[in-house]
Amino acid sequence: MRLARERSSADLALEQFFERRKHDRAADLREEAWDSFTRKGLPSRRVESWHYTDLRAVLREISPEAAEAGKPAHVTPPAGVVMTSLREALAQGDVEVMAALAPQTGDAAVDLNAALMQDGAVVRIGAGVRLDHPLTLDASAAEGASSFTRNLVLVGESARATIVETAPPLLARGQENHALVLQLAAGAEVELVSDFGPGDPETVRIYSLLASIAQGSALKSSAFIWGGGLLRRQIFATLAGERAAASFNGVAMLGQRAHADVTLVVRHAAPHGKSRERFRYIVDDEATGVFQGKVSVAQAAQKTDGAMQSKALLLSPGATMNSKPELEIFADDVVCGHGAACGRLEAEQMFYLMARGLPRAEAEALLIEGFANEALAEIETETLREAFGGKVASWLGARRLQSKGDAR
């Protein structure tokens, strides 16, 4: 028997989606993922990696499927880049695409995405291609509906690109399970900037990044989370080749009752790898931040250099932060560390700014902005760094307006 527990209305709805989806050329892959999913079901607090985000409790009802979810916008790709839709690639049985679709993470949400993926963009960046302008990938779904979408980016040897992954504000009640599969061939360099726009309080969104980083290649990822309902960013990354480098940075700015969970698993599989994880949370009102980071170093991955850090700034008595950093090390010659900090605005810093004339609200905003800026500084592409700086400032502006409104 597949489902030992009683099936909920959500389970039944997902089963219907699967029945409709399992007939394309990826049927075997979907079947395998579906089996893996149904053995576990929607994860609840009892699943360790979902302990702080009870998806089962939140997803009691599944919204109807969005039509044409993930269908890529028609754009002319830059020279050296080939773009197609996932639907077409699956219809044609594209071997390279099929091979790239089967990463085994064991995560229920990724399984569900693999079983139910509707469409997405497939982007191939040719070997040696250097893109001057960022490529934009849409991670958005239709509002008021559920969608399962997947983008696939294959970066050729020694290619260089900046990718912007955007999920525009999801205002109406919506459910989204999106995955980005990113594969870097040897010597490739990619900067990925992910912008997860704010959502309505009823939204449930899961954005998974499945990255593999080959020999001598480097991935630099920055994620911005602007709150909303429930949002989970999961990262499953493998530093597969020697001297692979990866950094995962991010800022979550959370107000009201937003819940944002960043869960990452970074596996070092080869020697001389370097990984950095730095996440910052600004948690206001009744919002909750979650950081679960696991760096796992295989026995073969000698001389690994890893450092992970999460920092949270709690701006209200009702704000919550859960941090769980983990190291799992099987190699004996490595340098790995982690740190987690959680606190309020520092009174000394506040006094310093106010003694120079800044009113309390302005001093607070400057310190919060400073806290976020340290993460923004990680973005290499200057135009993007400035654009996100502007977004941080508007978030703070909105917060100040809101607190003025409350004071009235």
Partner: protein, 249 residues
């Protein structure tokens, strides 16, 4: 003009300032000297409005207005400037952003228009050149990774830009070598003016060789025990504070 009248300050159950009276006239540079732990820094914090002190009695008046009722930023806008003994590092906040925010916040509070960028840049660059504050320092986050001397120069740079009515210098000489002390002192001396007064708090007479005070007050056990001219500082240097400590006890 600064007037401190019968000031009593406690931290919790501990009395720190015990009936202090002090007047600093416009144009005057007053030095406060005293042994460690006598309440000198507390006085500077109470004047500038730091939290955590219970003022149980007395007044602190600037131009006749009681500062004790005001928030630190309101005091700053009235012209109070505290040069910190330990300037606070604020990573992530660009020095220039901070300077502009501070100047414009004070201007707004006084009903003046905001300073436009070219004017602001010119003022910063002029002041920075005089104080040996490099462009590189201005590009860094506020006080982050600055040496002790750089931090103190940055304090004086801020004072030069904010043009206060009252400058309170809390142990500005601590941690400075002779060259840095000279630069910082020249910066302060350049700001001496008829419509500005200074309270220079120091443990050592050394600073007063560079910033020549008009009056010197010796403070111990939360009170001013003696007041006089610059010669008092030299006398203290000779005899130390031990007589004052026993006198106050």
């Amino acid at each position: 003009m600064l007037e401190v009248k019968n000031l009593h300050v406690s931290i919790g159950a501990r009395k720190i300032i015990d009936g202090l009276n002090l007047t600093v006239a416009d144009g005057e540079v007053a030095a406060i000297m005293g042994p460690n732990g006598t309440g000198k820094s507390t006085l500077s914090y109470v004047i500038s409005g730091r939290e955590g002190y219970d003022v149980t009695d007395g007044e602190v008046l600037l131009d006749g207005e009681n500062l004790l009722e005001l928030e630190p930023n309101e005091r700053a806008a009235k012209g109070v400037f505290l040069a910190f003994q330990y300037p606070v590092e604020i990573p992530g906040v660009a020095t220039m952003t901070f300077l502009k925010a501070a100047i414009n916040a004070q201007r707004r509070a006084r009903g003046e228009g905001e300073l436009q960028t070219p004017d602001f840049m010119k003022r910063v660059n002029d002041a920075a050149a005089k104080l040996g504050v490099s462009k590189e320092m201005l590009r860094r986050p506020l006080n982050s990774g600055f040496s002790g001397g750089e931090k103190k120069r940055m304090e004086i740079l801020q004072m030069a830009l904010l043009q206060p009515r009252l400058g309170v210098l809390d142990e500005t000489d601590s941690g400075l070598d002779v060259d840095a002390l000279r630069t910082v002192s020249e910066g302060v001396n350049a700001l001496r003016a008829k419509d500005r007064c200074f309270l220079v708090i120091t443990h050592y007479q050394r600073l007063l060789d560079y910033i020549k005070p008009d009056t010197v007050h010796v403070m111990a056990k939360g009170r001013i025990l003696r007041s006089g001219g610059p010669e008092l500082a030299l006398e203290v240097e000779e005899t130390g504070y031990k007589d004052y400590i026993s006198e106050a006890a």
